[in-house]
Amino acid sequence: MADNWSFVFAAYGLALIVLVAYWRFLVRREKELSEGDQVRRLGSDVSRQGSGGSEPQATASRPPSP
């Protein structure tokens, strides 16, 4: 009781939970968005092959990552 370790662990535990949760949010969002990006590019590739002689579709080239 004199040292209140439970409070110390509560604080560190809370910090851990919050920071890990935010990190997971970032990782998940990034995965979702890059997968979506790939699907879109694959989709436009497929439709380009399928439509034969129609004008070429411009696919957005992936900008260089910083």
Binding site: D3, N4, F7, V8, V18, Y22
Partner: protein, 215 residues
């Protein structure tokens, strides 16, 4: 490059944890509960760093209209609010055993609470504007107003608390702390700063991907 930053950040955090919970000595007056300081003080430092970055990014956006500056402002504000919330929570948890109450209007908690609601408002404003360009512009103006308000908040709260009132218990000046505690604190400062950079770069990247997905 990103995994290198992530790895270094993780290493720093672990080092900070070990020092804060283990290597740093037990403080004489408060006991081991003082170790919460190694979370609380670096958190508030990161918050100020984040809001300073919001100011710079906001001005840059208004002057140059660079989307990257807008994304940096947004990401930094979000991470800033995160760490401000953490500061308040750890401060409150620290306060319960030391002051006997979950909440008190001491200078730091009051200042940080005002910053919290200011920048929460910033995020709310962004959330309520659909037009990307207008949202960026308005948020930049708000970011500038909020940042210039910070010194005013500081002084007003400090005078509000300390005149005719005894100063709050937690006022650790580096000069009065033993060296090993300062070292542990500095390690945590460095680790949290790395974490800030890591979070902001990842968050800004997510924002860029979101913008590209909409285009």
């Amino acid at each position: 490059m990103r995994s290198l930053l992530g790895g270094v950040t993780l290493a720093g955090l672990v080092a900070g944890l070990v020092m804060g919970l283990g290597i740093a000595p037990r403080e004489t007056t408060q006991g081991n509960v003082q170790r919460i300081m190694y979370l609380h003080v670096p958190s508030v430092w990161v918050a100020y760093l984040a809001f300073a970055a919001v100011l710079v990014a906001s001005i840059t956006y208004l002057v140059r209209r660079a989307e990257a500056a807008d994304r940096l402002a947004h990401a930094s504000a979000e991470v800033g609010v995160l760490f401000t919330g953490l500061t308040i929570a750890t401060g409150s948890i620290w306060g319960k055993p030391t002051w006997g109450t979950w909440w008190t209007w001491d200078a730091r908690l009051t200042t940080v609470s005002i910053l919290f609601v200011m920048y929460l408002g910033y995020l709310l404003l962004r959330g309520m504007i659909d037009d990307r360009e207008r949202g960026a512009r308005f948020a930049a103006v708000l970011g500038i107003v909020a940042a210039f308000n910070i010194p005013l908040v500081h002084f007003s709260v400090y005078w509000w608390r300390t005149l005719h009132q005894p100063p709050s218990l937690m006022k650790p000046g580096p000069g009065t702390l033993p060296g090993s505690i300062v070292t542990a604190l500095l390690v945590n400062f460095a680790a949290f700063t790395l974490l800030y950079v890591y979070f902001v770069t990842r968050r800004a990247r997510v924002l860029r991907l979101e913008a590209e997905a909409e285009a």
